[in-house]
């Protein structure tokens, strides 16, 4: 159990490093070594740590625990083939973590990050549409059933390409340095993570690494099917590198543009669902 969590954390952090490396190479910079994020997390964990005097102390600390907890839970949901709706729930609950992080510190920059996180609630809608499309195809929201369905009918990536595209957008909107990462834009310092330093930041990095791992793994599992771990990791890496390319060549959008794009994608997907509903009867 816990060893798999550690493994996922390690891979997730490595993926973050690769992400930075690819972005740097695309932009013609040398970039940091790919284990940079692992070192980063370790560095943060060795830094002196306290709680800001202005913060709501309990919440400030609790949010870090919740961040790691929900994504470890999500990993087990994926592995045990639980409910896809539950995975969607974890994704939404991550929003609460983002709010809590920003609000609890009392810092105005954190608060701005939290506000942007509220505004970007539109990033959840494509995921709901994806869930709906998958349900239309497989008639079940259990991840095990979905995997079984794909073994019979072929990968959903081909059957339901728009849903895969929407899920891709969802993962993109949670990537660092991406066009949608408005909550950690540099004009508001580090957004909602501004006041979380030292051990707290290391904890958050662990949570986010798990998040990246879970989201990429979910993409592979839901749209390509159950694979041996090595192959799955390879595909996850490919998806990640494609995401890094997108992040490298697109500028960060303004908060309202992100909402517009995400809503438009959701709208397109809803039309697709209606058409599907009519076609499939």
């Amino acid at each position: 159990m816990i060893e798999y969590l550690l493994f996922a954390t390690f891979i997730g952090l490595l993926f973050h490093g690769i992400h930075r490396k690819v972005i740097a190479r695309v932009q013609g910079r040398p970039g940091p070594p790919i284990w940079q994020e692992i070192l980063h997390t370790l560095k943060f964990s060795f830094k002196e740590t306290w709680i800001p005097k202005t913060a709501s102390q309990t919440l400030f600390v609790a949010v870090v625990f919740v961040a790691i907890g929900i994504w470890s839970g999500a990993l087990f949901i994926l592995l045990s083939g639980g409910s896809l709706l539950l995975l969607f729930a974890v994704y939404l609950l991550h929003k609460i973590v983002e709010h809590g992080m920003g609000l609890s510190s009392g810092s105005p920059y954190g608060k701005f990050g939290a506000i942007r996180s509220v505004i970007s609630a539109a990033s959840e809608l494509p995921l709901l549409a994806t869930v709906a499309v998958i349900y239309l195809f497989t008639g079940s929201l259990s991840i095990a059933d979905i995997a079984a369905y794909q073994q019979v009918h072929g990968p959903l990536l081909i059957l339901a390409f728009p849903a895969a595209a929407a899920m891709y957008l969802v993962i993109l909107s949670k990537m660092h340095y991406g066009p949608f990462s408005i909550i950690e834009a540099k004009e508001i310092v580090s957004g909602n993570m501004t006041e979380h330093f030292g051990v707290w930041r290391a904890g958050l990095e662990v949570g986010f690494a798990l998040k990246t791992y879970v989201l990429l793994y979910a993409f592979v599992l839901l749209f390509i099917g159950p694979l041996p771990l090595g192959l799955a990791l390879l595909l996850m890496l490919l998806v990640l590198i494609s995401l890094s390319f997108v992040c490298a060549v697109t500028p960060m959008l303004s908060p309202y543009d992100t909402v517009t794009i995400q809503s438009l994608v959701t709208g397109a997907l809803v039309i697709y669902i209606i058409v599907l509903g009519v076609v499939m009867g």
Binding site: M1, I2, S45, K47, F65, A67, S80, A202
Partner: protein, 67 residues
């Protein structure tokens, strides 16, 4: 927090998590229960171990804080 407390908490959390995994693998514990235990103990393990190794042991220099 005392260095000792953090270490004990971290090791206890890690220990429970690992024990749950082993018990589940051996069939003494249902898998879902082990998973829940892992979810609860993993954050505590990460945070407390990190708090343990960055806690002061009491012999450091006083850092320069005046500008």
């Amino acid at each position: 927090m005392k260095k000792q407390t953090a270490l004990i908490a971290g090791l206890a959390a890690g220990g429970i998590g690992v024990a749950a995994g082993i018990l589940a693998a051996a069939g003494y514990l249902p898998v879902w229960a082990a998973e829940i235990l892992a979810v609860v103990t993993f954050p505590a393990f990460v945070i407390f171990i990190a708090l343990w190794w960055n806690a002061k042991s009491g012999e450091e220099d006083i850092p320069f804080i005046g500008y």
